[in-house]
Symmetry: D2
Subunit: 333 residues, 4 copies
């Protein structure tokens, strides 16, 4: 069986990680080309660090016959255009979240991809993390009874303000992972949200009405409640936790410690923690690509899918509107 040739759009932090995984850790796949901008191409060529042939844009990428599937890891504001361009070329798409920077644009992406009929997977890597997978299995198996309350929290170090300016905001860029995890873990849908926020880290966020601390209360279709906390502040390292309370028990997914080894010294117990999400989820990032390749080879539908991609954006949008205008906002309206 031959391997699937992958093209990638964008070689930023996540794009580079995907490229490394395709090149060396995803059996059945090979990296054949990357579309990067002029500046990065010159730099990579000068340094000899290009991981594969470089092309100028998505058109050039999908034109190559050896590109049989494409990873879209460009800046968030370009996802809409790039996903649609790849889908129209009839090639399977693995896209980083969010799929677009508005709900309307996201629906256009969904429509275009569905029309094209190409396989599609969205990069919610937590769905491939052993902790989240285990939690879902336990919940699905009835280990905690009926789900009654959810809590998710994600804290990360704040990116440069210019990145944030086009990111869609805290709920679109960061909390979106919790919104998806909520659906993944509970199998339930979020009906309405109520959000609030604060600026404690970066005053310039006010320029574009964004926040660095946010709390979103959730109401599920089942009547269960939930809350998501997100913040651009992580002095002790990348920090996440998911708790699902049920009528018979609760499940907690959390990885506090970076190493399976602990130091005890005059400070007491000192356990290093994950610093970057790329480090915390390194294997989940690999495994989601393995999942995508396996689905392509089997001809089955990749997961998480278009609906998952759209729902997360709808929730992020509702949370953003709730925070700005006050009051509860129904998701998807």
């Amino acid at each position: 069986m031959t391997t699937i040739g992958f093209g990638i759009v964008g070689l930023g932090r996540i794009g580079w990680l995907h490229a490394e995984h395709i090149a060396g850790a995803v059996p059945g796949a090979r990296l054949v080309a990357a579309a990067v901008d002029e500046a990065q191409r010159r730099e990579l060529e000068a340094s000899g660090r290009a991981p594969c042939p470089l092309v100028a844009d998505v058109a050039d990428l999908v034109a190559r016959p050896d590109v049989e599937a494409v990873i879209v890891a460009s800046p968030s504001s370009l996802h809409h255009d790039h996903i649609i361009e790849v889908a129209r070329a009839g090639k399977p798409v693995f896209a980083e979240k969010p799929i677009a920077d508005s709900v309307e644009a996201a629906r256009a992406v969904v429509a275009a991809v569905e029309r094209s009929g190409v396989p599609f997977q969205i990069g919610f890597q937590r769905r491939y993390d052993p902790g989240y997978v285990r939690a879902r299995e336990l919940i699905a198996a009835g280990a905690i009874g009926e789900v009654e309350m959810f809590r998710g929290i994600t804290c990360d170090r704040i990116p440069p303000v210019d990145f944030l300016r086009t990111s869609g905001g805290l709920f679109w860029d960061l909390a979106i992972h919790d919104f998806d995890a909520t659906r993944f873990l509970t199998g339930d849908e979020i009906e309405a949200v109520h959000a609030t926020g604060a600026i404690k880290v970066e005053p310039r966020l006010a320029e574009f009405d964004d926040i660095d601390h946010g709390i979103v209360t959730l109401r599920f279709q089942s009547g269960a409640l939930g809350v998501v906390q997100a913040c651009w502040r992580a002095p002790a390292g990348y920090d996440i936790r998911a708790e699902v309370h049920g009528s018979r028990g609760k499940v907690v997914a959390e990885v506090d410690e970076k190493f399976p080894a602990r130091l005890y010294d005059e400070r007491g117990l000192v356990a290093a923690r994950h610093d970057q999400f790329t480090e915390r989820f390194r294997e989940a990032y690999r495994d989601e690509l393995q999942g995508f390749v396996a689905a392509l080879r089997r001809g089955s539908a990749p997961t998480p899918n278009l609906t998952d991609a759209l729902r997360a954006v709808e929730i992020a949008d509702a949370a953003t509107r709730s925070r700005r205008q006050g009051g509860w906002v129904t998701v998807g309206q």
Copy 2:
């Protein structure tokens, strides 16, 4: 130095625990009398289990010259009357929370106790728990920088619905501990709250517009955010956690495990957990009385005090109104 004679009003679960502590674990104090109702008096006298002489009511209790201080552990709906009656008799009061069943009544209690000039302590026992004390010390010492986000959760097994009928509701009876812990840990005041709730455990709560799951979002005067989750559901035992995130770190207070010993068997690691809050906080309940007695003997002001008692009630009230009417409610208005 002679010991202080204590009277106690009420010998329910908490009252009995206080009586045991005064009788055997609080140096400087002795138990001299308890006011219980007719039925309980007959039962205790018949069984020979009365821990001290029994009297019929608060009037008889405070009339005894050997009663030099009084613990009010009667049903919540009677706290207002009992505290005021003891204070008017000029005797120091240690009162279980809440001090009254409305904010207006709570303010009347505050006024009456202040007028009487007697020492007063409210039974927020978490302030005497080593985990909460340590967390506060770390925060006060600047270990986490400026406080930016708080999260508290308390889950307990649901009491009989008839108890809940007069308890004031989930926020008055259970979440009140988190509201107080929030103030204790952060040293900040809650400015406004937004609350929601659901009934997942006990349908009859709808009869008196109560809930068994609640989420309260908090805005602090400093601009920090917070969230309190509370539920009458604890299948794995009494379950609490407090997290305070700051600009330089976070502090987490949690006690997951009942014993400092762990069993590993074919199920994996199995760690028993605390079942009752009286068990989880057994020593905090003792230590708060030791703190009260020590303050009385030193002539210093007991803590937590009247203001702490009132603020917690104001927050619980605001949360309840927010849940019922929707929208943010400013605390204390």
Copy 3:
């Protein structure tokens, strides 16, 4: 019911702790007198810190009619004489370990106490620690099946070398707690030991053929194996652990963390640990006295008893001989 009047011999670190507990935390007991040496008496009287009337020696102590029971907390080398003197006076004895500084002397203590018929308890406080108690309960209930392997470790900071000079050595002074815990947890007897040791901390230990690191392999009567590690080195705080492996599971007793609260900062997770054994076992020290007092009042036999006191010394002695002469040594011969 009146309280039992306690006298105490010695007000060193442990003696002082016992005195505090008797004075304020052991219902049914009161502190009536302490025997201390001339120097300490002058210092306590000058500072006004004497916790009770002071007498010159054990004879004066036991002569007081209000001294109804005695705690022997004098230097180890005097335990033999003091226990016998109290027993001969017909008063119940609570003695710190070891009961003597040779097996022969320990047997004389046992004989004298038995002849006197007074109640006796030895200060192996781990038997009153909730972790050890829980472990024993689980094992006794069959939770791990048949016991097959044991491991105990105790690491503490090194005391002054002049204290160690008369302490009997690492196995008599420190590992003795593990030897007793082994018997307590397994309900089995140690048949033979093999020991080795090293000096890594304090070269002057060589002057009196002692060590600061020791490893003792154990053979139980049941055929189970075990190992005890002990060291006078605890850079991260007082450090103990007990593991019992069985045919169906294992139990681990360990308390790593000092507070039920954790700090996360730029170092990662930082958890303070217990520094002193008096702090780690503070409540066990209180509870063993409560146990002693309860036994006296009920007229039942206190525990751990004379046999426990003697067996631990026999094991420490066998371990010391094995280390010095090489080879396995049968315990009690």
Copy 4:
């Protein structure tokens, strides 16, 4: 750059795992042939599950020009012959432990491999586990000061007695991983050992003078002490722990929990644990092959090396002799 063609000798549990890793998880390597016995070949061919072309023996394997390196994963008793045969053919060897079933034979392997000049790596996979690697880094960086005491424990479920009959015994087959880890973590050499053992699980071990529980006391060249416990009993899953105590702190490597997710239910906290060592060390098994391939491609010396392979066998041999004959045995004599 082309990939390195691997042959493998033996497709038992470990051989199969290596084959999977070479085939799909080790960039720069490809699986080209496997030598299996007649019975397994027929079975694999019948089921269509052969992962690569199958050959009859090592001679056929090394005769293939596309076999550029060989993994020796045959039964332990054949390691000596197979390693030497591959080395004589001039092809790099990755060998499972132990390299031979006697010290004399192991020295012959070392001599033959050295004569051949081929790169060699021994399969002590713990050296590639993040916990052990982190522990070594901390120790090497001086985080715990001078090493003073070591403790390692490994408990696994007992293999079939017929496997054990030719395995070399508990110390050769299981504790050998701890012996190597000791050297890896401390950077020190074991000078002498004292061992004891017991049969608690499988009476038939007595037929060939083996044990299922063993304790080995270690003396290091530096004067440090250590102890290794090993047992064929793991009711709660595969169970290992390494502790290194130093003059300024200690490091503990342990992974208790199988998933980064925890279930809390009416039993309390229940955390599943690793069942098989192939599961606990799955990634270490992959990473050691990645390390081997990387070394081959760079032309650097693979690690752990021949000396590591030999020293571990010498320690296992000394421990076995000590257990059988009693007394301390000097390693390497």
